[in-house]
């Protein structure tokens, strides 16, 4: 009897989990399906689900209209570059705050986060003027710096929470054995925090990949990433949903593949420290 209830509940939970998963996944699935329709089928009412003539026409049009790989390369440069730069600054910062906190540490953390509360457009003109002055417009370097700065508070916060879970005594022991500060961070702390650092990297790569305000406003062509690629397929006059869907699929494909292969790390990192 008891076993029956458990099985029943298991089936119920499984169905519920699949249902929730499907609801969350549905927009991506729909985009995927739409990308293989003609423009007329894409907007037809009632909508067609799978019973249409699948076509690669949209992907072909997109290839002739713009150079996907140029945009993708920029997206990779920007997301990896800004994340790497972020870690170089955030690991020491988080180390300091986690292992030698002062009475102002909490305030500093909160202040860092408060910079995220300013709407980006509020500083568009000042930043743009700085970029004009330093000749950074439409350059990858300029964007890497901006993306690094806007994500820095999140990186520091994430690393800070992970580092807090590591007993300070281990670092102390390393110090007792004569490890220098650099060795302490790179050879003792970092290996222990690998899951945390990995999920920080992944989250920041995704955030930089998806960032669509600065990447659109500070680039024209040389440094334009996939967000600009997607934006070029929306149209004020005319049907564009099928082509836009195809462009979106191409834009999310790399990050989707990376996410798929690293989902174990991601989940482990996000739940790291949840159970002591």
């Amino acid at each position: 009897m008891a076993r029956n209830v458990t099985t029943g509940r298991k089936i119920g939970t499984t169905i519920l989990a699949w249902f929730v998963g499907l609801v969350i996944f549905f927009p991506i699935l729909w985009t995927f399906l739409t990308s293989f329709k003609t423009e007329l089928q894409a907007i037809s009412i009632p909508p067609v689900f799978v019973g249409f003539d699948w076509t690669l026409e949209n992907y072909r049009t997109i290839q002739t209209q713009s150079n996907y790989f140029h945009f993708m390369a920029n997206s990779i440069y920007l997301s990896l570059g800004s994340t790497a730069l972020g870690l170089i600054f955030a690991i020491p910062a988080a180390w300091a705050m986690a292992f030698s906190p002062t009475k102002r540490t909490k305030d500093v953390l909160l202040w860092m986060l408060s910079t995220k509360m300013l709407p980006a457009v509020g500083v568009l003109i000042p930043i743009y003027l700085l970029f004009v002055r330093f000749g950074l417009l439409d350059s990858r370097l300029g964007l890497i710096v901006v993306l690094f700065l806007i994500n820095l508070p999140i990186i520091v916060w994430m690393l800070y929470t992970y580092f807090k879970e590591i007993p300070g005594e281990i670092l102390e022991a390393a110090r007792m054995d004569g490890a220098s500060l650099g060795k302490e961070i790179t050879q003792v702390l970092a290996p222990m925090a690998v899951p945390g650092i990995a999920s920080t990297i992944l989250l920041n790569v995704i955030l930089s990949w998806n960032e669509a305000f600065w990447t659109l406003n500070l680039t024209t062509s040389n440094a334009a990433p996939l967000t600009a690629f997607i934006a070029s397929f929306s149209s004020p006059q005319g049907n564009f949903y099928a082509k836009l869907s195809a462009a979106s699929m191409l834009a999310i494909a790399p990050i989707l593949i990376v996410g798929w292969f690293s989902q174990k790390q991601l989940v482990r990192g996000l739940t790291f420290g949840a159970v002591k």
Partner: protein
């Protein structure tokens, strides 16, 4: 992991450092994504073949993003664009701000007198051309000939709003999913206000009077908005308050609308079998009139996507060469040769409409030309501003969008027409006095 991070950042830095030496002039052109512009991008190799010293770099963006992007760049002197695509709303304002270079080097063969006068005047300031028209549009009434025949109706040569109201009622067949009339409802100065500004003019009302006093509580606006809300609530499609050009294009293309008044460029979409299910059933008529002798015979809409050179560009000479090519008669012939006459960008040159090959291929040619020729955006005694469906002053974007939201509220029934207009008047008066009008 650390190794790959270091490699990635090293790659990024090397890539930034490696700037290529430029042997030729590279033009950066900012544009919107529509079929005519995409066609021009496809034909760019022809231009580069004829001008081997110029290379063209396209930046295509969504209309609102482009507008924000270009405005930021031009206001800060960023110099990111050598040619930009702007509309008839921006040209008078930007020319006055001295943000644009006058186009005085388009070449002897350009034939500026061939440009349709209404368009040329809309893009000029103090007699100088500041942007060259790439394609232009006015407003048309599109209707379904088959549905009209079934209902025993004949579209008059110059329809009135009384007739349109009667036809909307007769054509509507909600059980069959057919709505008598589809109009824009999505709020925005370039969305529902483009249509409503035009409709109010058909009832003899403007945005501002000669002393820059907003006119939203005038008789004309009241009549126009009351009729608009009434028709749309009774015979319009559900959820019309979120319909813009594209949504109506889809509805009409799927055979769900009896009539649709919108930008004349819609005609080329709904007659294209690839984009419409009713390509051979569409008729064209002028925009309806609300009063005797309504201004411009109801054609109160003029828009031209145009190419202009920002003052911050360092490559003005090459930019003029490109603009001259892209808006020339020869370009129209090039498109016709490669893609057929029906795909030639419409509305800019008189000679195009004298070409029988074009008028045969494009069933909407005559109606479009008629509409554009009648639409005169110049200021008049009772209208101090440039523009018809918009007012070419910097404050209009904000006012237009705020008023558009009031109109959408009236359409969806969350406010009455009187409340919406009263609120609109208050918003507009506040904004105008804050901006220091009358000037």
């Amino acid at each position: 992991m650390r190794f790959s991070m270091l490699t990635a950042s090293a790659c990024a830095l090397i890539a930034v450092a490696a700037t290529s030496a430029e042997a030729q002039t590279t033009l950066t052109i900012g544009t919107v994504n529509n079929s005519d512009m995409i066609r021009m991008q496809g034909l760019t190799p022809e231009f580069e073949k004829a001008h081997p010293d110029i290379k063209v770099n396209w930046v295509t963006l969504e209309e609102n993003i482009l507008r924000q992007r270009v405005t930021t760049d031009i206001a800060t002197g960023g110099g990111q664009f050598d040619v930009m695509t702007i509309g008839t709303y921006e040209v008078p304002i930007w020319a006055k701000q001295e943000w644009l270079k006058p186009l005085d080097g388009l070449g002897d063969g350009y034939d500026m007198d061939d440009l349709i006068p209404a368009i040329r005047s809309a893009l000029s300031s103090d007699g100088k051309l500041y942007a060259a028209p790439f394609y232009a549009e006015s407003v048309l009434t599109l209707y379904r000939k088959d549905l009209f025949e079934k209902a025993g109706l004949t579209m008059p040569e110059k329809p009135t709003w009384d007739f349109i109201a009667e036809a909307a009622e007769k054509v509507t067949d909600k059980d069959a999913g057919i709505y008598g009339i589809c109009l824009r409802g999505k709020p925005g100065w370039g969305e529902n206000m483009a249509f409503l500004g035009n409709m109010a003019r058909e009832f003899g009302a403007n945005y501002f009077d000669a002393d820059w006093k907003p006119q939203f509580e005038s008789e004309g606006w009241k009549k126009a908005v009351t009729l608009y809300v009434d028709l749309m609530q009774k015979y319009g499609p559900p959820g019309a308050a979120s319909n813009g050009f594209n949504e109506n294009l889809q509805l009409f293309g799927q055979g769900k609308c009896g009539m649709w008044m919108d930008a004349s460029v819609a005609a080329s979409f709904v007659t294209d079998p690839k984009q419409s299910q009713v390509p051979d059933k569409v008729g064209f008529a002028p925009a309806p009139c609300g009063v005797e002798g309504c201004p411009n015979d109801g054609f109160n809409w003029l828009w031209a996507w145009s190419l202009a050179i920002p003052n911050s560009s360092q490559k003005a000479e090459a930019a003029q060469t490109f603009i001259s090519w892209a808006t020339s008669k020869e370009y129209l012939e090039l498109v016709a040769e490669k893609e057929g006459w029906a795909n030639v960008p419409p509305g800019t040159r008189t000679s195009l409409y004298e070409n029988s090959k074009y008028t045969e291929a494009a069933p909407f040619a005559e109606a479009t030309l008629n509409a554009i020729q009648h639409a005169d955006p110049s200021p008049t005694d009772d209208k101090p501003y440039y523009g018809l469906q918009f007012a070419a002053i910097p404050e209009f974007q904000g006012i237009g969008t705020a008023v558009g939201q009031q109109m959408a509220a009236a359409l969806s029934g969350s406010a009455t027409v009187d409340q919406a207009l009263k609120q609109s008047q208050a918003i507009a008066e506040r904004e105008m006095s804050r901006a220091g009008y009358p000037k």
